[in-house]
């Protein structure tokens, strides 16, 4: 059930330059939220008419935690909020990751700001999981994954941390076998990881991003081209309602 409310900020810190972690007291949302779902945050300045979609990074009993990068006007305003300030939010939204029935081995692949939503997922997947994380330069949240007792592999494009290259290079290098892949990150990365998964015939779930207006499925703003098996042609599904998690095989990666 979707809730629209004024949530209190219970923790807010800059975890690395320009990237913030915010914990919001929102028990109604926390109660039903699942990894891979997101919330809409409404900018305090009302000249910014649209809410900003941010994925849930951690879910506790009474709160949800998000990790976001200052990308523009809206996230800039969020970063200026203090502990105990309140902000309008709506959620949980969309369909999260489908967790495998049995304890199959999972590969979790994250790039940049695609990493935070994979934390709660990894927690639920448990031990039999390999996590591959790609950064521009300085890693963030890697310890959070470590702390789950999971194998974490790191790549950085700067070469300063872990493998010198992208998370896809990491994937090529390790070439791990698994029953399931989960990926979140930039479109090009998701495209490559999906190609890799296809090549190895491993089912893959990818979490997609698109510009949103309503965030709940009513405006058709957030289209992603999906071609279901057996369908003659693709059609636009809604990232906010039909996703953000899709099967990597069904996404039409043409753009």
């Amino acid at each position: 059930m979707n809730t629209y409310c004024l949530a209190t900020i219970v923790n807010h810190e800059e975890i690395t330059s320009g990237i913030w972690k915010m914990e919001l007291a929102a028990s109604e949302i926390a109660r039903t939220a699942e990894p891979g779902q997101f919330i809409q945050l409404y900018p305090p300045d009302k000249r910014n008419l649209l809410a900003r979609p941010i994925s849930l990074s951690a879910i506790s009993e009474k709160s949800v935690t998000i990790v976001y990068r200052i990308a523009g006007k809206g996230t800039k305003q969020f970063s200026q909020l203090q502990k105990n300030d309140r902000i309008r939010i709506m959620g949980p939204l969309g369909n999260g990751f489908a967790l495998p029935d049995q304890a199959t081995k999972s590969i979790v692949v994250g790039g940049g700001l695609g990493i935070p939503p994979l934390l709660e997922l990894s927690k639920r997947l448990g031990g039999n999981t390999e996590v591959l994380l790609g950064y521009q330069d300085i890693p963030f949240m890697a310890e959070d994954f470590h702390r789950l007792g999971i194998n974490v592999h790191i790549a950085s494009q700067s070469g300063n941390y872990g493998l010198h290259g992208t998370v896809c290079d990491l994937l090529e290098k390790f070439n791990p076998s698994a029953g399931q892949v989960f990926a979140c990150g930039p479109r090009q990365m998701l495209k490559s990881v999906s190609a890799w998964a296809k090549e190895h015939s491993i089912p893959i779930q990818v979490s997609m991003e698109e510009r949103m207006a309503c965030g709940i499925g009513a405006c058709l703003g957030c289209g992603v081209k999906i071609q279901k098996p057996g369908e003659p042609d693709w059609k636009y599904l809604r990232v906010c309602k039909d996703g953000p998690v899709f099967s990597g095989e069904e996404v039409v990666w043409d753009e």
Binding site: Y4, R47, L49, R211, M212, A213, A218, K241, E255
Partner: protein, 302 residues
């Protein structure tokens, strides 16, 4: 049930003057998780065409200062899908159903109206802002002769009262409104979006894949209100006003300009409770100002 708020459009009585603007509210399903749809005077659904339309490339929504650009491209699953899935859903609620229809040719408009002829809906809303593929892609809604012709043709197939929704991109909106009425419109709604653009100066490209999109939200309200006022003073059929309405005060401006009903669009995106807050606000205003029927203030601007 707030008495004194009822309003009648072409014989159909809405319990209050607030409906949703087509395309911003789907068929109500999603907002129905947040608000009580029974509260609404009517639900106006996303545009429906004869067959399914795929829509435009993404990104297709973008924020501007105090407004929104969209280039959804009237994506919809077609009339058949709508009739099977959405009418039964909507009929569960105590609210009127306004079906917005669109087409790229005269024949498509007629065909979709015909498909709805025997359906259980209350009103049809004809969106004449669609690009007219037969006449070079300019909107149907900008030439009074074409307006009269398309309205006349659809009127012939439609069994429900027909609202004609006008494009604001004309020099004289009253001329278009009169053409729609002489073509057989039972009511007029306006305004549809104005075409606008925004450029991302860092990426050095337009924010919409389509470059140009429909501009809606608070930024268009002064234009919308002026046009609603002009149309209310030039035709005798009821007028549904929309364009930037976000608060009950905005809605009252349209009612004072003469609108029989108002539609809330973009405001739903920044406040999912906008419609019900507007209904409550109008009611409070009526109480505070001892207004027993909206007729007392409707069109009070001469």
């Amino acid at each position: 049930m707030n008495s004194g708020m009822e309003t009648t459009i072409a014989g159909v009585t809405l319990k209050n003057p607030v409906t949703t603007a087509s395309g911003t509210f789907g068929s109500g399903r999603e907002y129905g998780e947040l608000i009580d749809l029974n509260r609404l005077g009517a639900i106006t659904v996303k545009g429906v065409s004869e067959e399914a339309w795929k829509g435009n490339p993404v990104p297709r929504v973008a924020e501007t200062q105090d407004g929104l650009l969209n280039s959804i491209g009237l994506q919809n699953a077609g009339a058949k899908h709508f009739i099977e899935n959405d009418i039964p859903f909507l009929r569960q609620y105590d609210t009127k159903i306004i079906v917005n229809i669109c087409g790229h040719t005269l024949a498509q408009y007629c065909s979709v109206a015909e498909k709805f002829a025997d359906c259980d809906i209350d009103l049809l809303e004809l969106n004449i802002s669609c690009p007219n593929v037969e006449e070079g892609g300019l909107s149907f809604g900008t030439d009074p002769h074409i307006v009269e012709r398309v309205v006349g043709a659809v009127r012939h197939y439609a069994k429900q009262p027909l609202i004609v929704k006008l494009s604001p991109e004309v020099s004289d909106i009253t001329e278009i409104a009169k053409a729609a009425v002489s073509g057989g419109a039972d009511a007029i709604s306006l305004i549809n979006t104005l075409r606008g653009m925004k450029i991302d100066i860092h990426k050095r490209k337009p924010v919409l894949a389509n470059k140009i999109g429909g501009y809606s939200g608070p930024g268009i309200m002064p234009v919308a209100l002026r046009m609603v006022y002009e149309v209310c003073h030039s035709v005798d059929v009821p007028v549904i006003g929309m364009g930037g309405i976000s608060t009950y005060e905005d809605a009252l401006e349209f009612i004072m300009a003469g609108a029989k009903a108002v539609a809330v669009g973009t405001a739903n995106f920044h406040n999912p409770y906008a419609t019900v807050e507007i209904i409550d606000g109008i009611w409070r205003y009526m109480k505070e100002n001892k207004i027993s029927s909206l007729e007392e203030i409707r069109g009070c601007i001469d």
